[in-house]
């Protein structure tokens, strides 16, 4: 890695003692000796193992659940269904007033995605829990499922999630978050070229080497300690408190040493049910996702569809950009309404465009619920934007890097969401990339600066 201190030297004091120093990491000695304690490195006598019975259907009504054989199975201590969960319907962002509550801890009457948790089995050993889980009988009446966002938005599509009543998240702005800046149609009318393209992505798994999980131990005083690899301690504690209708002071969360997260461990999925199991049995409980669960059950990065329509001039200026973004939340909200909204704040990318129209939708389908991942709300948008930029440059016969300089934002430029740009550095990154990659651009671009024009 090369630190190029010559850029922005006038804005930076480099006389610091500890900041900017490549100090060794205090946690590494624990890592290399195998001594670092992750949540699962704690072992408690009498610990129970929780295994989940999951829906084999994408969308189905549950006509009956029979747990009698599982309850009698040797080694089984407790079998939990929806009626055991005090506040079974929840949504994690309710803590910041983003509702409605739309997800069940354990399925109640209906399943909305293949893999949804239906029954929790707690047993003395993992093996006993697995065997007993196989004895749980659930009768389903299969319902039509929808997997395509545009299909889901059509009238008459099967309703995925009744708590919303329609297959999109209803923002205060309506069916999508909107950004309107300038007059996009006038911009298109005056453009030399119009290019409209559609980009799509697949769900992506965080795939941390340590799977999602927790171990809950009763403290013996009506409090429960939850050793967890959540990415957000109080967020998880407070949601568990709501779901379990337990005062927060009964909960003690210990974590902070996590085997990789990447956004995959912010969903409050394992802790509430494990705490409930510990409360109802008085025993320590371990609920750790198998690798297969981590790969297919834990929330992925959302699949997205992004439609970009641009008006561009022969001289390289983009004069209008219209973006319609669809975020596939899967069956439940989790963090997706926030992610789709974050996209609205991010478009049209790091470029100054006078006429912008953005609609971002958070859509419900019968796919695995998606949630946050590294680059949430932006990563796929950047793929779409930057491939579109390449296409636009080729369309007008311009070098793709030079084309970006022409449109790059600078300090003081008004963004589409009506905030002036601060602290821009796109131009300098491109200048340095031009040098490093031996991709020459015209001298006038190498002479540009992100500082405000005329400053």
């Amino acid at each position: 890695m090369e630190l190029r201190k010559d850029y922005f030297a006038d804005q930076r004091k480099d006389d610091l003692h500890e900041i900017g120093q490549p100090r060794p990491r205090s946690d590494s000695p624990g890592h290399v000796t195998g001594k670092t304690a992750y949540f699962a490195d704690r072992n408690f006598p009498g610990m129970l193992h929780l295994k989940m019975v999951r829906s084999p259907h994408h969308h189905a009504r549950i006509s009956s659940i029979d747990i009698s054989e599982a309850e009698k199975y040797p080694g089984v201590v407790k079998v939990l269904t929806a009626k055991d969960v005090p506040h079974n319907v929840y949504t994690i962002l309710i803590l910041i007033q983003i509702g409605p509550e739309d997800e069940t801890v354990l399925a109640d009457g209906k399943v909305r995605w293949k893999g949804e948790a239906v029954v929790a089995v707690l047993a003395e050993t993992e093996r006993a829990a697995q065997e007993a889980a196989a004895k749980v009988k659930v009768d389903y009446e299969v319902l039509p499922a929808v997997f395509d966002m545009e299909e889901a938005l059509k009238p008459g599509a099967p309703i995925v999630n009744e708590y919303h009543g329609q297959n999109y998240y209803l923002y205060d702005s309506g069916e999508c978050r909107k950004v309107r800046f300038g007059d996009v149609e006038a911009g298109f009318a005056g453009a030399d070229h119009i290019l409209e393209q559609t980009y799509q992505s697949s769900p992506i798994e965080h795939a941390p080497t340590e799977t999602t999980g927790c171990i809950v131990a009763p403290e013996g005083n009506d409090r429960f300690t939850c050793y967890t690899n959540t990415q957000a301690m109080f967020f998880t504690l407070d949601n568990a408190s709501i779901i379990l209708q337990m005062p927060g002071n009964k909960l003690h969360f210990v974590g902070g040493t996590v085997g990789g997260g990447f956004g995959g461990k912010v969903d409050v999925i394992v802790e509430p049910i494990a705490i409930l199991g510990a409360k109802l049995t008085g025993r320590p409980v371990s609920f750790i996702y198998s690798r297969a669960e981590e790969m297919q059950i834990s929330s992925p990065r959302a699949a997205e569809k992004v439609v970009i329509k641009d008006g561009v001039m022969k001289d390289g200026r983009i004069v209008a950009r219209k973006v319609t973004g669809y975020t596939d939340a899967g069956a439940y909200s989790r963090h997706s309404p926030y992610g789709a909204q974050k996209g609205a704040g991010h478009y049209p990318g790091p470029y100054t465009i006078p006429n912008v129209w953005i609609d971002t939708y958070c859509v419900y389908t019968n796919r695995t619920p998606s949630s946050a991942m590294r680059g949430f709300g932006v990563t796929i948008g950047d793929f779409a934007l930057e491939v579109q930029m390449d296409k636009l440059a080729r369309l007008i016969g311009m070098d793709p890097l030079e084309f970006r300089f022409i449109n790059a934002y600078r300090d003081g430029d008004m963004k589409a969401h009506r905030q002036p740009t601060e602290g821009a550095a796109l131009i300098e990154c491109m200048q340095e990339a031009s040098r490093a990659a031996n991709w020459p651009v015209a001298e006038k671009f190498m002479a540009m600066s992100s500082y405000a024009k005329g400053a």
């Binding site: 890695m1 090369e2 630190l3 190029r4 850029y7 930076r12 500890e18 490549p22 100090r23 990491r25 946690d27 395509d148 205060d172 309506g174 978050r177 950004v179 559609t198 799509q200 769900p203 992506i204 798994e205 795939a207 990415q231 957000a232 301690m233 109080f234 967020f235 210990v254 902070g256 996590v258 997260g261 990447f262 690798r291 297919q296 926030y338 609205a344 704040g345 946050a372 590294r374 680059g375 709300g377 932006v378 990563t379 950047d382 934007l385 930057e386 930029m389 390449d390 589409a416 969401h417 009506r418 905030q419 601060e422 602290g423 550095a425 796109l426 990154c429 340095e432 990339a433 990659a437």
Partner: protein, 336 residues
């Protein structure tokens, strides 16, 4: 058979922290009797090095070496509230909270030292090595060890501080979308060079040259860790990763590390990382959040490079050999 080469570029920016704010983080700092400092948080270290960076930030602010600082985090019985580690917010939000707490603790420390040295606290400075000196008269000094002992056992002072950082929440205007998302943006530009086997659709990423602007590299080696790993993940997203390889058919989702594809140690692109620092106005020592954005520009850069190599656009991620091969066959079959 032909191996065809291409290169592509992409440039991006990325916000630091929850985009519309409203995401608080608190920190507490106190000294032990012998002048070590304890930072208490509930923030989570996912492996990015939160504990180490918070120690360096606290040390810089108080004016002691980093090894005098211990970070105790992620115990809800002791640590004050942090919204969590996500959205590139850890260093920025928790770092600001630690600075505020450390400043308050430093002030008490200097006041105690001032009493011991019989000067005004405003006349004192730290040497970064564990001592407090009178400005302009460095021979008049006291060690922080002695200051802490005095505070605890003689003067009855608590060398401690509280920190809280919150960017007030912004609510987008319904019709125009006017809002105040993060003003702290990191930037990047990546050039990728690929080879594409036009008979199999296989892509080899030869080189990626990444330029990242991250505000301030608080610990350059740890920044490098993030950026190198992120660059790898970006390439992985571009070419390999999906939980539903045949969507809308939802079968055949990978359930293990053999089936869920990511580049192996034999697939690594030659990776170059260049870092620029334009300090952000509201970042701890100017830092922005590089953790997420560093994995973004490689995706379009690789996509554009594939087009440059073989002349087909794959606008659906991931850009698999199958998608490339199908596009090449369609291109070959299309009338000129």
């Amino acid at each position: 058979m032909a191996i065809r080469r291409g290169r592509g570029v992409a440039a991006i920016n990325y916000p630091t922290g929850m985009n519309l704010g409203g995401d608080p983080t608190q920190a507490l700092v106190h000294s032990t009797p012998t002048g070590n400092f304890m930072v208490t948080l509930s923030s989570v270290d996912l492996g990015q090095g939160m504990k180490q960076i918070m120690a360096q930030i606290c040390a810089e602010t108080i004016g002691v070496p980093t090894d005098r600082v211990v970070v105790d985090t992620a115990d809800t019985d002791t640590g004050p509230h942090c919204m969590g580690t996500f959205a590139s917010r850890g260093t920025h939000r928790a770092g600001n909270a630690v600075i505020q707490a450390a400043r308050e603790a430093r002030q008490v420390m200097l006041e105690v030292a001032a009493e011991e040295l019989e000067v005004n606290a405003s006349d004192l400075e730290t040497d970064g090595q564990g001592n407090i000196l009178v400005k302009g008269a460095p021979q008049r000094s006291i060690s922080i060890f002695d200051v802490a002992l005095s505070a605890h056992f003689k003067r009855g002072r608590s060398i401690s501080g509280r920190g809280m950082f919150l960017i007030p929440r912004s609510y987008p205007e319904k019709e125009t979308g006017a809002m105040k998302p993060s003003t702290c943006y990191a930037h990047a530009c990546t050039v990728a060079e690929v080879e594409v086997d036009d008979e199999t659709g296989e892509v080899t990423v030869l080189t990626v040259k990444n330029v990242f602007e991250i505000g301030r590299a608080l610990n350059p080696k740890m920044v490098e860790q993030q950026l190198v790993g992120g660059s790898w993940m970006g390439i992985s997203h571009a070419l390999y990763e999906t939980t539903e390889p045949y969507y809308p058919n939802r079968d055949h989702g990978g359930t293990d590390f053999n089936q869920y594809l990511m580049p192996g140690p034999g697939d690594l692109a030659q990776t170059e990382i260049i870092v620029l620092e334009r300090p952000s106005a509201d970042g701890p020592y100017g830092a922005k959040g590089p953790g997420e954005m560093c994995a973004n520009p490689q995706i379009p850069a690789v996509a554009n490079a594939v087009f440059d190599a073989v002349g087909v656009r794959i606008d659906t991620l991931p850009i698999t050999p199958e998608r490339i091969l199908r596009a090449l066959k369609a291109q070959a079959g299309a009338p000129n």
